[in-house]
Point group: C2
């Protein structure tokens, strides 16, 4: 009998995950979401069972995942941690792409006690980026410098934002406001989000702007690399606009008195921006990722480079951000399901990248789906 | 006995008007405002009598202006028309800088019936600009083209807006949203506010950006010039930012549902922007004005050019926008008080500009106060 998967969340990413897992007839795929209409669409596209359930209610996730071999968590970031807690209680292995706000490593001992393998941040970034970083840190002796650049963009650039959100827009603004941890001279230093913009040329795409976002996450502590940074890529100009919106107070969570009301500026900004940041049906997007690692190899200074350039797939209707994030999660889930990776406790994705066979299997799975990471020589 | 003036409003502009009129010991100056603290400051600076009164209540303006020879209206734009109605009822001459929203010419017959002279839009722009336009239209035969450029700016350019508001900030945003009437080939055409930006160099100041605003007002109908436009000047970049704010919906007066509340985006934007757009005490500003008129004179094509470049006055602490707007109003008020201009009914300022002696007297008054309009040859 094949693997029994439960996918939590049938949004942009969760749907891509469910469809990919269900393409293997040997697997059983069960999807849970609070929105029945999403599940109905998914049933029409893939061989999945579905459960419409309010996953935020106590114990619901535990009941939904009962009996699963591997759970894939694709819930909004605010729901990820509470769901993971219940998955561990249910004794299921778990692969997560919720980009949860809380630190999942606080659940490490609970996962060990249950003997379950938990991998978090298993999307494209954080995720694939971290696996490649883990690979670089293992191959170079020592790895001296690590730079990660990644962005999800609309294929068509439209004034004024030249941006659409491939995942929950609130999480995009969170990226534009949350202080950024980077590593310099072996020390963790904090920079402002949207800081240190630089222009980079990408062949076939043109010039993009890279700026600091808090994307290193687990790498800050897991890798002993003295210089590490992660930057987000956008079309040039977007970052300046977002800096101005932030400076004006439009991203503030502190309420402002307006007439007789008290309003959080972020909430109004969200109400105005998000419709403008939402992809139209079948609107093409693209994902750009570049990982650069410098260090010593065989007595010489060496740079390892990985690049990914992925586009919307008209055949499946899946956006690139859904493909690259979702297919990374399913590739990892398969490694857990097959037993190729089993490590009781909570692990970050760089743990996978440090094992060449695992990384090759994951990159091979991605390549089979058209997500082609080049480089690494 | 000297002229008895009543000044309505003791804001940025009204205070400058009251101080200038009161500098003539032969005049009696009475100022009314709803804010007692403003009046107290004004009494400490100038020989004025004051009345603290809610000028929006029925009949209050009429009582306050009773017995005045000339009233100068410097209220916010939303209050200007109602106040003017009562000034006419009281039988006083009136000079206005409120930039009232309604059309003051609808009070023409009421003013005629009372035999009072009313001049509206008597600031720097509209105002001085319109007098110069009226002069050009009278001198050139015919005047074929008229271009007005004007802006009030902070002397110091600070990221991101490089702008501070020299008058009520709501009226600034109104300028950025209200459709613009210009004249092309003798026809009135409507353009979007903030449209048709162009870069212009001003010696000693550098490059400014000019864009369409609805500043022609009465000129659209009063002058028979086939090409007329009025543009506002800002430091380059401001207009693009305001276009983006408008596009995002931040200037919208249509309420948006935010959680359980219904909020007008403009109100929140105002709450966030206006503190950033307010001049600090004694912060220096400047006013730039250029009027260009082309036409035929003595059988030749001729261009008449007027330029004004004025700055904050550290000696008086008066900002340039208060000086140029306020001193134009007082210069006009003196012409009405002396009887040099008396025309029962409601007139626009271009009526003054068509009379060379009146215009020279007004420009001379301004020059005596350091507001020096050059050109016109």
């Amino acid at each position: 009998m094949g693997t029994r998967y439960v996918v939590l969340g049938a949004g942009m990413i969760g749907s891509a995950i469910a469809r990919d897992l269900a393409a293997d007839p040997a697997c059983e795929v069960h999807v849970a979401d609070v929105q029945g209409d999403r599940l109905a669409i998914l049933r029409s596209e893939a061989n999945v069972k579905t459960t419409e359930a309010t996953l935020t209610e106590p114990g619901v996730v535990r009941r939904v995942v009962a009996g699963a071999d591997v759970v894939v968590g694709a819930l909004p970031s605010l729901l990820g941690y509470a769901a993971l807690t219940q998955v561990i209680e249910a004794g299921c292995h778990h692969v997560d792409v919720s980009f949860m706000t809380e630190d999942p490593s606080t659940l490490d001992s609970a996962a060990r006690a249950k003997g379950v393998t938990v991998l978090y941040d298993c999307g494209v970034a954080p995720g694939l980026t971290h696996m490649l970083a883990g690979c670089a840190a293992a191959r170079l002796a020592p790895c001296e410098r690590l730079e990660i650049y990644v962005g999800g963009l609309p294929a068509e650039r439209r004034w004024p934002f030249e941006y659409k959100a491939g995942f929950a827009p609130y999480d995009v603004i969170e990226e534009y406001t949350r202080p950024v941890q980077i590593v310099e001279e072996g020390r963790v230093v904090v920079r402002e989000a949207l800081s240190e913009p630089e222009l980079l040329d990408f062949p076939g795409l043109g010039t993009l702007e890279a700026f600091n976002t808090d994307g290193l996450r687990s790498l800050v502590r897991s890798l002993r690399v003295p210089f590490m940074k992660e930057k987000t890529l956008r079309y040039p100009g977007h970052v300046e606009l977002m800096r101005i919106f932030r400076e004006t107070g439009l991203f503030s969570k502190e309420s402002v008195v307006v007439g007789t009301q008290s309003v959080r500026p972020l909430d109004l900004t969200a109400a105005l921006l998000f419709p403008r940041w939402t992809f139209a049906p079948r609107e093409a997007d693209l994902t750009v990722m570049a990982v650069r690692a410098q260090g010593q190899l065989g007595g010489e200074t060496k740079e390892l480079r990985w690049d990914l350039f992925d586009r919307f797939d008209p055949a499946t209707g899946l956006r690139s951000m859904s493909r690259t994030t979702g297919f990374t999660a399913t590739a990892v889930a398969r490694q857990v399901a097959s037993g190729a990776f089993r490590q009781p406790g909570v692990s970050a994705p760089e743990a996978l990248g440090a094992q060449p066979k695992l990384l090759q299997a994951i990159l091979s799975d991605l390549r089979a789906r058209g997500v082609d990471v080049v480089g690494g020589e």
